[in-house]
Symmetry: C2
Subunit: 214 residues, 2 copies
């Protein structure tokens, strides 16, 4: 992947084809960010199918706020797809560094560790944002146009997948970190995020079933 | 959406932008298919990072089979994204039919019901396929190159989201069906699929944690 080409400028099919290839990036980390962007887009869709209609005047303000937050998040998530791929590429480049002298070995080892830290930190941020957005997906499902409730539920499911993909990428890269305190702190946070994501998914599922039966 | 333009020919950003718009399609149903295609692509990625390497010779045959099945599924899922959008568009068109005479009313009502049936049947098929593919994602996670275990886990998470998005779309469209037997049969199947998807997600999560600790 060239550093100037954005992943989201590829066609959907082109993105999926490079994903399916044996290139190490893009992989699950980039997918996490795209799932996050997809969830955000679906929240905006529900908001836009709700605002400006008399029947939903009571939630107009909340929906306007959802749309604005979701569209900003969508754009940020799109840039995280590239940041994730670049972070992992930096690990691969560090492994190729010279390792003849002790100095070279130390520099290489430090670069590898810095690479893994970045490769764990980017999906950590993606996981945080996906979980935050899941609260908006629940509001979109519960309070938005009921005809778009399935889109709100789909937002929650996409964001949940984004969180799980991101967490798996944090965990596999954190496993390579030699600094135990950093690693433990990261894994503590992923455990909290996963449990919060599980809870919010169930909340959206309940909200969706309520819309179906009303 | 023109009937000739494929959704997957849009750029990722372009797809997300039309998703976020107030157009009723594409929505969660198309997202379900794209999540399914994403999961399939990630299974193929894990397979390709595993085959042809001496260290993984014992799973060579299984991984070759995974790649082939996953690539076929990826292409099929890509076509389902359009089929879903078209099915829902046909509901919208049926609502616009004339309803002056009794004959027109009956024809319109039949067209609406046929439209909802198609709009529920397409995501039903997507949900079935996502759940089937989740078994392959588990094998990719458990048996593939351990360095790609996070990609296998991400495949499982993407397919899980695909199943949940598809099921939400089955449920909201099935709710409009007047034929109670058809509706009940559809909802029975979605309940089974959801429970199977929950189970398979947990299995992949266990497989991933085993790879991390080995």
């Amino acid at each position: 992947m060239g550093r100037d080409a954005r992943l989201v400028d590829r066609t959907v099919e082109g993105f999926l084809d490079v994903l399916a290839s044996d290139a190490p990036t893009p992989g699950g980390g980039a997918v996490a960010a795209i799932e996050g962007a997809t969830g955000a887009a679906l929240i905006a869709m529900v908001g836009r199918l709700t605002v400006g209609r008399e029947a939903f005047a009571d939630v107009e303000e909340r929906m306007q706020a959802l749309i604005e937050t979701a569209l900003t998040a969508q754009q940020e998530m799109e840039t995280f797809a590239d940041r994730d791929a670049h972070a992992f590429d930096s690990v691969m480049e560090a492994f190729k560094m010279a390792k003849e002298t002790d100095e070279q070995k130390a520099a290489r080892s430090a670069a590898i560790q810095a690479g893994y830290l970045a490769a764990a930190s980017v999906p950590q941020e993606v996981a945080r944002r996906c979980v935050e957005l899941m609260e908006l997906a629940e509001d979109a499902t519960a309070m938005g146009n009921p005809q778009a409730a399935s889109d709100g539920m789909s937002a929650a499911a996409s964001l949940y997948a984004g969180a799980l993909c991101a967490i798996a990428n944090v965990e596999i890269n954190a496993a390579a970190l030699k600094d135990e305190a950093t690693r433990a702190a990261m894994l503590d946070e992923t455990a909290t995020l996963r449990s919060r994501a599980d809870h919010l998914l169930r909340e959206s599922q309940t909200a969706f079933q309520l819309r179906l039966s009303s």
